[in-house]
């Protein structure tokens, strides 16, 4: 059964050695991903979602970083692999779309050349074939007049167009898993909708799996089949998108949903807030990391960390000692 999974992450921990001590940005994360599935990783800044996505593909910093556990992409164990070994899967098995299209492209290199690079280095194509393929890719990601744009510099393109180029580069070697780390943050809503539609469409067409890392619950609501909610480096709830939105058991998930403003709210709707702010990862308590901000917290929550436990729906689990009742849906605001 597990051979069928594209990605199996088990007990993955990323620890940074900082001046203040060891900091576990990702602490014991386990989940898996089917082929042709879109998974959302949601969390606030500092929850470890970006570090997790980078560790999964082995892109964590080389110094002062310890990774334990396992991350198997299509049978390849990333944790412990050397740079040279990891290079065999980067691009062809897994590729990443980074958040900031301004800084993830080389500003003094024509965009066509930046796409060619992957094709020539990784697939050993010759100059002519690579150019033809690069133009195809530009067309695939919806860039108008790709032949002319092939020679453009990133500075000549808008933010949305640049993000399309970044996606084209990521797709160059037809990866099976596309990681998108905040792919639309910083883009306007109409452009964001275009890029998300493009990712959806490409996923179907190229039969990829996509991991969408974002802080925006609106982005994952209609674009993913499953969601992982992270808090302070750990998964606090995971399940199908509908279960997480409508049958969540973990108070943090509820609080996150309640504090996001909605377009359907009446004007001057008072938002329900979470008191305090995310904990300092350097001195976490032994208990639940969310306990200091949680209105249901008891002594047990402050002392003993809850592990993920299954909820009623299949594949839905949460880490909480005092979970919300099963039919939490009825009390949603």
């Amino acid at each position: 059964m597990s051979d069928d999974k594209l990605l199996v992450v088990k007990d993955l921990t990323t620890t940074f050695a900082t001046a203040g001590g060891d900091l576990a940005a990702v602490a014991g994360v386990s989940f898996d991903l089917e082929r042709n599935e879109t998974l959302g990783i949601v969390g606030e800044s500092g929850s470890g979602k970006t570090v997790l996505s980078r560790t999964i593909m082995g892109l964590q910093p080389r110094v002062n970083t310890t990774v334990t556990g396992s991350s198997i992409i299509d049978g390849f164990e990333v944790v412990g692999a050397s740079e040279n070994e990891k290079r065999t899967i980067w691009g062809t098995e897994v590729a990443m779309v980074f958040q900031d299209p301004m800084t993830s492209l080389n500003p003094v290199m024509r965009i066509g050349k930046q796409i060619d690079e992957a094709l020539r280095v990784r697939l050993g194509m010759n100059r002519k074939d690579a150019k033809a393929r690069a133009i195809e890719l530009l067309e695939l990601v919806g860039i108008p007049s790709p032949v002319q744009r092939y020679n453009a510099y990133p500075g000549q393109l808008s933010g949305g167009m640049r993000q399309r180029v970044v996606i084209a580069i990521a797709l160059a070697c037809s990866p099976k898993l596309l990681m998108a780390d905040e792919p639309t943050t910083g883009l306007d809503v109409t452009i964001q909708a275009q890029i998300l539609n493009l990712l959806d469409e490409l996923k179907e067409r190229l039969e990829m799996s996509v991991i969408l890392v974002t802080h925006d619950l609106g982005v994952v609501a209609t674009r993913t089949s499953r969601i992982v909610v992270m808090y302070a480096g750990r998964i606090v709830e995971t399940g199908t998108t509908r279960d997480v939105f409508y049958h969540h058991r973990m108070p943090y998930t509820r609080a996150l949903l309640e504090s996001s403003p909605k377009v359907s709210n009446k004007s001057h709707t008072r938002l329900i807030t979470i008191p305090g702010r995310p904990p300092n990862l350097l001195n976490l308590s032994d208990g639940c990391s969310f306990a200091p901000r949680c209105k249901y917290a008891t002594d047990q929550c402050h002392l003993v960390r809850p592990e993920l436990q299954p909820s009623v729906e299949p594949g839905h689990s949460f880490a909480c000692w005092n979970p919300l009742p099963v039919n939490a849906e009825a009390t949603l605001p």
């Binding site: 606030e44 949305g160 809503v189 109409t190 619950l217 359907s264 709707t269 009390t331």
Partner: protein, 333 residues
């Protein structure tokens, strides 16, 4: 909401022109609106539409090239020197990036006291009491944090300090330029609630500039939508969101992502990107992307017309206003 319906601010035909390599770019191309006393006007639009420039031009941080800005009957654009400085105490601005808008090497209480020290309105003990009072109002304990440096605070706390500073001179009008867009959802909700509380307490009038439609809806009484330097639609928040009259507003709302898996997916997304303000289209500025555009739209610039009470739209072919709710009504608790 205030009972007195007199405009506190009235902006008439405001234009801001920048010169880029000798080319005139009208970032704001004739914007007119009024803000009643005690009202919150939301200003939304995509990046580059001129919403921030409008906010800055009201304060004369950038110089308007044409038009008038009347604050309580006084034309700000005609003032200079001391009278301009004194007019500015009646309106204050809160900026997007809370961390860079505070000097990291100054103490919190000095930052908040700076406007008072400039004007020497209060001194000595009275000044200290006022600062302590302001800081506690925004949720920063003055006895614990007053002597700390701005660099020691998180983004949300810095935004609280910015708010305290902006309130020091007891302004009438607050211009909030993307004040929550750099914050996490849970912190964003805290700041939005704080703003609503302070608005009621200090009797403030707000111009709330943001790109996030949900955030704007949650705080505004009326909303103005900008596209390429012009206001295309302005109206009461609830009716404008429920039944937009301008095709651009409809697309913008359709692209907004709701944190709800059951929210309707809008099949139609706006294609392309806004044209360059250096070379805006003739007639209606949205016509190049508008599905309903005709020759008339290219030839004649649409003037604002009233489609419903207080609901103005600049379009030759406004969408029909319907008043039954099309948006999903949230479940009642």
């Amino acid at each position: 909401m205030s009972d007195v319906r007199t405009p506190l601010l009235s902006v008439n035909d405001l234009e801001v022109t920048f010169y880029v390599h000798g080319h005139a770019v009208s970032a704001v191309a004739g914007v007119s609106f009024e803000i009643m006393e005690g009202e919150t006007l939301g200003l939304v639009g995509e990046s580059g539409c001129g919403k921030s420039t409008t906010g800055k031009a009201l304060m004369r941080i950038v110089e308007p090239s044409k038009g008038t800005v009347l604050l309580e009957g006084v034309d700000i654009t005609k003032e200079s020197g001391k009278s301009l400085r004194s007019a500015r105490t009646r309106m204050q601005m809160i900026f997007q990036d809370p961390i860079s808008s505070l000097n990291p090497r100054r103490r919190v209480k000095d930052i908040v006291a700076e406007p008072l020290d400039c004007w020497k309105t209060v001194t000595g003990l009275e000044r200290d009491t006022l600062i302590s009072d302001l800081l506690s109002k925004v949720g920063i304990d003055p006895s614990v944090y007053g002597n700390r440096y701005a660099r020691q605070f998180s983004g949300g706390q810095c935004q609280r300090i910015s708010i305290a500073r902006s309130l020091a001179m007891r302004p009438k009008l607050l211009i909030c330029d993307e004040m929550v867009s750099a914050l996490d959802v849970s912190v964003q909700a805290q700041i939005l609630n704080l703003l609503e509380d302070l608005k009621a307490e200090y009797g403030l009038t707000l111009l709330f500039i943001a790109h996030d439609l949900a955030v704007v809806k949650n705080v505004s009484d009326r909303v103005a939508v900008m596209y390429l330097g012009k206001i295309c639609e302005i109206g009461p928040a609830d009716t404008l969101y429920e039944s937009p009259a301008h095709p651009y507003t409809e697309f913008l709302l359709g692209a907004a992502l709701e944190a709800d898996p059951d929210s309707p997916m809008h099949a139609q997304t706006l294609e392309g990107e806004p044209p360059s303000p250096m070379n805006p289209p003739s007639g209606c500025r949205f016509r190049t992307r508008c599905p309903n555009a005709t020759q008339k739209c290219a030839d004649v610039e649409p003037l604002p017309q009233e489609v419903a009470p207080n609901h103005m739209v600049s379009c030759h072919y406004p969408l029909t206003i319907h008043h039954q709710s099309t948006t999903r009504t949230p479940l009642e608790g």
